[in-house]
């Protein structure tokens, strides 16, 4: 289960692969994946 953030209200929740995409708090239909927790190293240019 991956965690997603609601596109409208910002609520964080989990979403199953086959579940309908829908925020349980504001019934918004689009969600964003949360940023990775892995340490990221970027090359500054």
């Amino acid at each position: 289960m991956t965690r997603y953030i609601c596109g409208e209200c910002g609520q964080i929740f989990e979403l199953d692969v086959n579940e309908t995409v829908r925020c349980n708090f504001c019934s918004c239909r689009y969600v964003y994946k949360l940023r990775t927790k892995k340490p990221i190293q970027l090359e500054a240019r």
Binding site: T2, V17, N18, V21, V31, K33, T36, L42
Partner: protein, 1269 residues
């Protein structure tokens, strides 16, 4: 700095000193009606009025099968944008949701109906019949609910500066581009294709369109119509319409009778004497198709129509009634109005014959109409609505014809909403308006809104395209017409084939929407117009207007003054009557309009041609018009007073108030001809002084009637952004208009929320130091597209020839021109007809057991070159000594490195080229039921997507839920079996410029409730050699060199080093003097911190004047002329010459070297010819063309030619039979039936193909073989 409230840098907030500040009306105007007001007004009119009209016209359906049954539409209305969640549950939509989830921003259409049901009349209200796509910011758009910009941004996630006026169809923003057309229902005197004089009218009514012409050929007059097989003598038409005697006809036309004689004689010779003769004559010359059509559309009772075949006469009469000049109402068989109009057309032709210069100018902008979203959608809706009703009728016929029915026929259950919904969606998303009913076949009506930059959006919304063929090399329609002054931007047009055919509206130009003309008609009569029906032919003929211009065409010396001549009165092209004092009539009508009694967009003008004098009133849609300040006729002074401007400052006055008080009014090109418009106040005051003198001499003088609001308003939104535009060579401004649309900058305030397919953003955009008023009108300063770069106008290094720029490396390090490229990678999880569906699986390499899909992946990625190369570069594939399986595993791990446990990349992860973004897996069999299925899946069946989704979901869950931790034996068996029926179909990251970073991952559901994943990948790009830059003067160039800052010259006093070195050779031939001015003004602005105004055509006063700027330079220790002492960065010595040095606004254009750079060693080949493919997008080869070949031959390097053109391209070993010369197999010639004479020959495959193709055409090609040298 970006806050508009504090933007007092320009004079927007300074106190009003005098009427010179009248330009402040422009922001007021634009505030009341934003830049794209015409689109919205037109759409609103369609939704509020036209829809109801269409339903009223077509709102009654009956069935042949039952005389009782009927369906009557009572009313129609459009809701707010929403989508049906379930039955009766609607979910409101916002534009942002639609963009993100690929939905259509559409609102349901509801109707109230009355129908026959269960033996009685029944009314049903709010019946849903389909979705109508809604224009953003129109009256139905939800964005209107927002009371402030903040609310717009926070609640709707919408950019407050977004102009709206477009549609969102399946997530794509589409604009209905304004279409320019020739005016409908108006008479035009022109030459036809044979060079004959003719008067043509393109009639267009709600029911039909047709074109009628009166042609003057060989001294005789004919009527031409596309439903007639040949031209009909006009006298025959008159007779058919019931005007029998020649005298009557001559009186009606009342022109020099001698010109009519040949026509009259011709009719006599044809033997057409009576009305029935004439009708029969016409009836014999009807095209067969139109026969039926005319008869049907004539309102003749149904039974009558069915009973007998119509006679020739009846058909001809029906034609005259309905198809000839259909815009003129015809009551029964009373053709008098049509006769009069025909007579007018004849007069027009005859008058033009006397004076060939009086032909109408088709390119005159008063003869043009702009077709906007409203009328186009209305046509579409009418077509769809008729289709819906036809479907209902057919259904009713079927059901009601059955002798016994189990249920009573209920019309509410057989309305298919898809007809309308899909019809709209399809037309808008494809841009094809193919309406057979209206014989309309137009393509490219809608275009995708270009979202490259904010300017591109604004530019697109004001674009006008015309219907002319692009290939025709005629200059007329392309040329700038004087009547386009203030209506169409003189600068903003593309170069090349569509030059002059695609135009842009000027800043203040507006397009009218239709207005009801009943009030005007009443008023026209009330003001003393005599009804045309009340006038006897004799009156008409003898009236002064008709006589004075007739005969020799010269007005007799003693003829009364023009004002005294009576005039015909036309309303929307229809002849209403005659008025004895036309100038009084126009004056009164205009007074009514200025008082607000008539619509503001009403246009009243007089015309005086040789044929007649006329007063025209127009209320139709699509006229371009613009606001002007009214000069009081009596006093000769401006109605706008200083106090108005002061009130305006305080916010006490609205635009509508100015209209109501008659301070400003709209004029269209036709009415502009009646007006004398002063360019500035000085001109007006000068006029006053002159007048006093002249008034003593003569009574009548030319007096100004209007004053321009501000001269820069003749430019459009794009051209208005050019500083000092009036100082530049004209084509430079045109180039800049095209280029500003490619500039990278900020696109919208919600640019990071929107999921655009490709988005270029400047990391550090700046507003220009030297700006125009239009910059603030269009809010360009809030979403700018460039940076103020310090420019040294000098030569440097030799890498600056041919417009190349030298860019300071340190400036690039500090962020000059740095930009972000965002790319969208959408993945849709489909459900297939057999119930299977796409799934996403976790990264393969995290599970240790399965290896089979890995193999599949290897094959999948091998087809894509580049990947392998880049991987070997990064060293992951240094697997020479390893087991191949292990190597594949490592490679796989490398490609999956950014994947999360759910099989989708996580935001923030860096991506190497070729990395997997979404690990999608597709079923191999999508159409038919797989032979073997386990228990739960067998239920899936061939059902609809939704139900199948649920069932197949279970199977997919089993497949997808394999994180490697909890899997029992049976499950693993089932899932591995499942896998064998699936193949990987991953979304792979591939973009020019190499590595990227995942910006955001959006998961949503599309229109069909399928899961949609949009991965946005971000790249940050520095400026590199080869990137394109342009200043605001059409001066484009590529970056030629990026030297270290230490090598660049520095400024003697301040130590400043330039960001950009610009070669002075770019200046003399281009004559962009504005650039010189910008440098001076920009330098002063940078030094004293006040932005400078550079509006075109405006006298620069105060700080903005060049002198004042130069003073600032002097005071700050710089050279007065802007030319400063620089020291060489290389030698440290002062440069021999003073260098012109200062900030110029530079735009980075979207063309970047990374996106273009390309080369290949080996790669794909075309299947047919086996030669390398062409083009970068296909990873094609680089062509060694004819000229290259010639030069190689010239050098005698023929072996190199052979290598390039054959060995490296499409070498092929063929076998040729020595005896017959044909191609054959290795050891067999099918022609000679033997195999001993075959020879091996190496030749290009394309050559072999040519021989075979020639053979297929029965052309023998024989190869004669010799010894190889």
């Amino acid at each position: 700095m970006n806050d508009p409230g504090t933007a007092n840098d320009l004079e927007l907030a300074s106190p009003v000193r005098d009427l010179e500040y009248k330009w402040k009306l422009i922001p007021l105007y634009l505030q009341a009606q934003p830049l794209i007001r015409h689109h919205i007004a037109s759409f609103n009119y369609f939704v509020d009025t036209e829809l109801k009209k269409i339903v009223k016209w077509n709102g009654y359906v009956t069935s042949e099968a039952s005389s009782q049954w009927f369906l009557k539409y009572l009313d129609i209305r459009v809701g707010t944008p929403s989508v049906y969640e379930h039955v009766d549950v609607q979910r409101p939509l916002t534009p942002h949701q639609c963009r993100v989830s690929d939905l259509t921003y559409a609102a349901p259409i509801f109707v109230d109906i009355e129908h026959y049901h269960c033996g009685r009349r029944e009314t049903v209200s709010n019946l849903f019949i389909g979705y109508l796509p809604i224009m953003l910011r129109s009256s139905r758009c939800c964005l209107l609910q927002a009371r402030s910009d903040t609310e717009l941004a926070e609640r709707f996630r919408e950019c407050p500066l977004d102009p709206g006026g477009y549609f969102i169809v399946r997530g794509a923003e589409r604009v209905i581009v304004i279409q320019e057309q020739l005016c409908k229902n108006r008479m035009l005197i022109e030459l036809d294709s044979r060079g004959d004089l003719c008067a043509t009218v393109t009639s267009s009514t709600a029911e039909r369109k047709s074109r009628t012409a009166v042609v003057y050929r060989g001294e005789r007059l004919f009527l031409r119509h596309n439903t007639l097989t040949e031209d009909i003598p006009i006298v025959v038409i008159f007779r058919a319409m019931g005007i029998r005697s020649a005298a009557e006809q001559v009186a009606l036309i009342s022109w020099d009778a001698s010109l009519l004689e040949p026509s009259l004689e011709h009719a006599e010779r044809l033997g057409v004497h009576s009305a029935s003769d004439a009708l029969r004559y016409i009836g014999q010359r009807l095209r067969s198709l139109s026969r039926l059509y005319a008869w049907r559309s004539a309102e003749i009772a149904t039974e009558q129509r069915q009973r007998r075949k119509p006679s020739l006469e009846e058909e001809a009469r029906a034609l005259l009634r309905t198809l000839v000049l259909p815009h003129i109402p015809c009551d029964g068989i009373d053709f008098s109005d049509k006769c009069l109009y025909l007579a007018l057309m004849i007069r027009g032709v005859l008058a033009a014959k006397a004076n060939p210069e009086s032909l109408d100018d088709k390119d005159y902008y008063g003869n043009k109409r702009l077709e906007l979203a409203g009328p186009l959608l209305a046509l579409l809706f009418e077509d769809l609505f008729k289709k819906l009703n036809a479907d209902i009728r057919r259904h009713a016929d079927q059901v009601l014809a059955k002798p016994s029915r189990t249920q009573d026929f209920d019309v509410t259950r057989c309305i298919r909403s898809e007809t309308i919904s899909h019809g709209f969606e399809h037309a808008l998303s494809s841009g094809n308006w193919a309406l057979k009913r209206f014989r309309m076949e137009r393509q490219g009506v809608t275009q995708v809104l270009s979202r490259l930059s904010y300017v591109a959006v604004i530019g697109m919304m004001s674009r006008i395209t015309s219907q002319f063929e692009k290939t025709r090399k005629i200059s007329g329609p392309r040329a700038l017409q004087p009547s386009q002054w203030g209506m169409v931007c003189p600068c903003d047009t593309p170069e090349g084939e569509s030059c002059g055919l695609v135009k842009n509206l000027a800043l203040l130009a507006d397009v009218t929407t239709e207005e009801e003309d009943t009030a005007v008609r009443r008023l026209v009569y009330d003001l003393g117009t005599q009804d045309i029906r009340a006038l006897a032919d004799y009156d008409l003929a003898s009236s002064e207007s008709w006589r004075s211009a007739s005969g020799d065409g010269l007005r007799p010396a003693g003829a009364p003054d023009a004002d005294e001549r009576p005039a015909l009165v036309f309303v929307n092209g229809l002849l209403l009557g005659m008025h004895l004092h036309p100038s009084a009539l126009t004056e009164q009508l205009r007074a009514h309009r200025q008082r607000g009694a008539l619509g503001a967009f009403l246009s009243i003008w007089e015309s005086s041609t040789r044929a007649w004098r006329a007063v025209h009133v127009a209320t139709d849609a699509g006229r371009v018009c613009r606001p002007l300040l009214v000069v009081d006729r009596e006093r000769g002074t401006l109605r706008l007073q200083r106090r108005h401007l002061e009130d305006l400052e305080l916010g006490l006055l609205r635009w509508e108030d100015l209209l109501q008080q008659g301070i400003v009014e709209y004029l269209d090109p036709n009415e502009e001809n009646d007006a004398l418009i002063a360019l500035d106040i000085a001109q007006l005051q000068q006029d006053d002084r002159q007048q006093e003198q002249e008034q003593r001499l003569t009574q009548k003088t030319n007096r100004y009637t209007h004053l321009e609001i501000s001269p820069e308003s003749i430019l459009g939104a794009c051209a208005g952004l050019i500083p000092f535009a009036n100082h530049n060579q004209s084509p430079r401004n045109t180039y800049q208009c095209a280029m500003s649309k490619q500039a990278i900058g900020a696109m919208a305030y919600n640019q990071h929320l929107r999921t655009d397919a490709l988005l270029y953003l400047l990391n550090y955009p700046q507003r220009p130091l030297v700006q125009t008023r239009a910059v603030e009108f269009t809010h360009y300063h809030r979403l700018p597209g460039g940076q103020n770069a310090v420019v040294a106008v000098m030569s440097y290094s030799g890498y600056d020839i041919e417009d190349a720029l030298v860019v300071n490396r340190a400036s690039v390090d500090r962020g000059l021109g740095r930009c972000t490229v965002l790319r969208k990678y959408p993945v849709s999880l489909r459900v297939y007809p057999n119930g299977t569906r796409d799934t996403i699986e976790p990264a393969m390499t995290t599970t240790t057991t399965t290896t089979t899909p890995t193999v599949a992946y290897t094959t999948a990625t091998e087809g894509a070159p580049g990947t392998t190369a880049s991987i070997s570069v990064t060293g992951v594939r240094s697997t020479s000594g390893q087991e191949p399986e292990l190597a594949a595993e490592r490679r796989r791990r490398y490609l999956e490195q950014a994947l999360d446990s759910d099989g989708i990349v996580a935001p923030g992860m860096p991506l190497p080229p070729g990395a997997i973004l979404v690990n999608k897996v597709m079923p191999t069999e999508t159409l038919h039921q797989p032979l073997l299925r386990s228990g739960p899946e067998s239920q899936a069946g061939h059902s609809t997507a939704l139900t199948a989704g649920a069932a197949a979901g279970a199977a997919a869950a089993a497949a997808a839920g394999t994180t490697g931790t909890q899997r029992d034996a049976a499950g693993s068996l089932a899932s591995s079996w499942q896998r064998s029926l699936r193949r990987p179909a991953p979304a792979v990251y591939r973009a020019p410029g190499g590595a990227g970073v995942v910006d955001q991952v959006l998961v949503t559901q599309d229109q069909n409730d399928l899961r949609l994943i949009k991965v946005m990948v971000r790249q940050t790009r520095r400026v590199v050699e080869g990137d394109k830059y342009a200043s605001r003067f059409g001066q484009k160039g590529v970056v030629g060199l990026i030297p270290p800052e230490t090598d660049l010259p520095w400024h003697g006093n301040s130590g400043i080093r330039p960001d950009i070195v610009f070669n002075p050779h770019g200046m003399p031939s281009r004559m962009t003097v504005g650039k010189v001015f910008e440098l001076i003004a920009g330098k002063a602005a940078a030094l004293d911190g006040c932005l400078r105004d550079a509006t075109a055509f405006v006298e620069r006063t105060g700080l903005d004047s060049t002198e004042a700027c130069a003073e600032v330079l002097l005071r700050s220790g710089y050279s007065y002329a802007g030319r400063d002492l620089l020291y060489s960065g290389i030698t440290g010595e002062p440069l021999a010459a003073h260098v012109f040095f200062g900030p110029i606004y530079y735009q980075r254009l979207k063309h970047m070297a990374v996106d273009k750079c390309f080369g290949r060693a080996r790669g794909p080949r075309a299947v047919l010819t086996r030669q390398p493919t062409e083009g970068r997008s296909r990873d094609g080869g680089l062509r060694l063309g004819e000229m290259e070949r010639d030069s190689l031959l010239g050098h005698g390097a023929s072996l190199l030619v052979l290598e390039r053109l054959m060995y490296s391209s499409d070498a092929f070993t063929a076998f040729v039979c020595e005896s017959c010369g044909y191609l054959g197999a290795r050891d067999w010639c099918q022609v000679c039936r033997r195999g001993d004479a075959m020879q091996r020959v190496l030749l290009p495959y394309a050559c072999k193909l040519l021989f075979q193709e020639l053979q297929a055409m029965n052309i023998v090609t024989k190869l004669r073989l010799g010894e190889a040298a």
